[in-house]
Amino acid sequence: MADNGDDDSQYRIKEGDYVVLKRGDIFKAAQIQLKKKVIFEKQWIYLDNAVGHFYRTTFEIGSGGTLHPKKSKELESSTAAKEAGTDNRNIVDDGKSQKLTRDDIEMLKEQGLKGQEIIQQLIDNSSTFKDKTEYAQDKYIKKKKKKYENTVMILKPSCRILAMMYHGREPGKICHLRHDTLAQMLTLANVHAGSKVLVFETCSGLVLGAVMERMGGFGSVIQMYPGGEPLRPGVESFGFPSHFHDMLHEFPICHVNALLAGTLDTKAKDPNTGTASPPLINLEQSILTTGDSQQNKPEVKQQGRSAEEQSMEASSDANRSDDQAKEDREKRKEAKSQERKVKLEEKRKKMAAAAALLEGRNADGLVIASRFHPCPVLLGLLKFLAPSRPFVVYSQHKEPLIECYTKLKEVGGTVSLRLTDTWLRHYQVMPNRTHPLLLMSGGGGYVLSGITVSVDHSKAAGSPQAEEPAPKKLKLTNTEG
């Protein structure tokens, strides 16, 4: 970064840092906490030893899960001096080509041999390796490497890495949003420093974090969230500097209609009277009920803490006498009520701040990526955008976006609507062995993008909007006939 480009400290791993562990194409987000076990690829690791090292250092995982920095270049060197056969003609598949047994390999491991050394042993003891084609040798080494190499690289998190991580490990948590699709969304929405961007997502906060990264702490991001609490565990993984969080606001969507109607009361309630003007929505009431509403249910699964609380409560109630239980319940009720009041006030302030940002209906961008039907979400939130501002809607499926498109064409107020997806393929580039990777992602989801314009209800003839979709449709019908 320009502001402290020569300061090395930001390039070093510190205690408390959010980091990403990497082995091959496998990523995992973690935090550097001393003496705390982290599971990575079925192994326990302690990250303590990483502190002080530079990011992108590769560590060998020692016995007991401790990390030891690997000498650079060791990893990169080609494993075996290759003596390739020209074809596989003499290879007979009898399952007897490997002289090392499973037990032999376990023994080598116990002797403390490193992954790379084990692989070399495997090669030396393979009767067919030298006869295999280079292509087949390479495949063999890769397979074994994956199995026996025992290293981890520690990376500084970024949108690129976290997006790849989520898509690779837990696509269900990010609605199967592929990283290149996210890239399209950020660009098509013109997300940049200094703007005011609305985000509605159920992608664990990945999309929210991506937007925040692109804004670099300048401007405002308003998370429009469903249910009782904004959910964004993924934002933490970005490890943003604390001032980034100053630009983050949140607003529960269950108050969107009230806000649009001008009936939302976000003023502090007088604790003595406890009343609000009748036509206005009572914030406390609605916040309290929101938590219990149907709406919230789908979230519960993801929201570990609240689900846990509920189940703990239920089990502790079960084995007590009625009286004692009653008393306890009263106490807890009291404590909870107090706690709730504090939370409520905090929430009220937050909501008031977000409402203030939204009221002008002059947001600069809208990004939607959720498991909800995108059509009502889009139509509802579009109202907060200034004219001539881009919006993007992601959906894992095309059909709901077709509906969005149709609906937007009906109601007007948008131009440049486009429904797209992207096709992504990676390549192996090696001398004489260049080809696309044999597997690719089946799909990265769909994006509907567009730009808002001032709404005008008098539709003139010969206008671009009237002229736009009709001729194509007509043409298609003709060729159909």
Binding site: R89, I253, V256, G380, H397, T434, L439
Partner: protein, 290 residues
Amino acid sequence: MSFVEYSDHIQEGDVAIIYLGHDSMMPVKVQQGAQTQTRYGAIRHSTDLIGKRYGSKVTCSKGGWVHVLHPTPELWTVTLPHRTQILYTTDIAMITMMLELRPGSVVCESGTGSGSLSHAILRTIAPTGHLHTVEFHQQRAETAAQEFRQHRVDHLVTVRNQDVCKDGFGVTGVADAVFLDIPSPWEAVKHAEAAMKTQGGRLCSFSPCIEQVQRTCEALAHQGFEEISTLEVLLRVHDVRTVSLPLPDFGSLPSESPERTAAVAVKTTTPPREIPGHTGYLTFATRART
């Protein structure tokens, strides 16, 4: 049963395909007195298969049931024992059309490999064509020849165990089409030419790496082949699903009755998470008459 002719009923010696479920099939050699184990229990050939109509539902010993299908080259491709990397139906379909194969075509192929393409070629060129297939790996050549006999297509095919790059296809001036799936196809281009009819024909070379394609195209152009065209064809499967999309609750205004949270069911398709991203490049060319 034969791989080039349908039968209605299962007979002793047939190869039948047991359909256990999507992507779960197995070929069975039907033999009086034999049994085949499946995850739904055993199938007794004498009572459960022989004499039954192809397509029948067969109840296994554990009570579950399967369907018994007539073999086709396509079912064989997804059930055959792999001795090598094989060609799959998507590429095979393209090769068949682009080589202009049809009943009566004479085709040269190398290598035979696991015979996946060979069976598809035989199906298409029967009953009057012939396949000359060359495999340098002795064991594979023998196994292929044996399979062709079992599948009752051996009258349509000659298997040769030799190195096509050194020794060619063993025939000259007879082929309408030549197919190459070998590590150095450019070394076989001259032999391909020799195998083809003097009136010309079509050639296809399948290679996973672009460098192989480059050398092959160069060799083809050098040998005077025309219409040299390289392409890639990939299959995309669309799994049909119904998904439920919850509707958001934007809150009701005091004047309205509270919105009920609801969800909408949408019929859609999803792609498998990972799909084939590459099988190989297909290079086609036309040999003009010499």
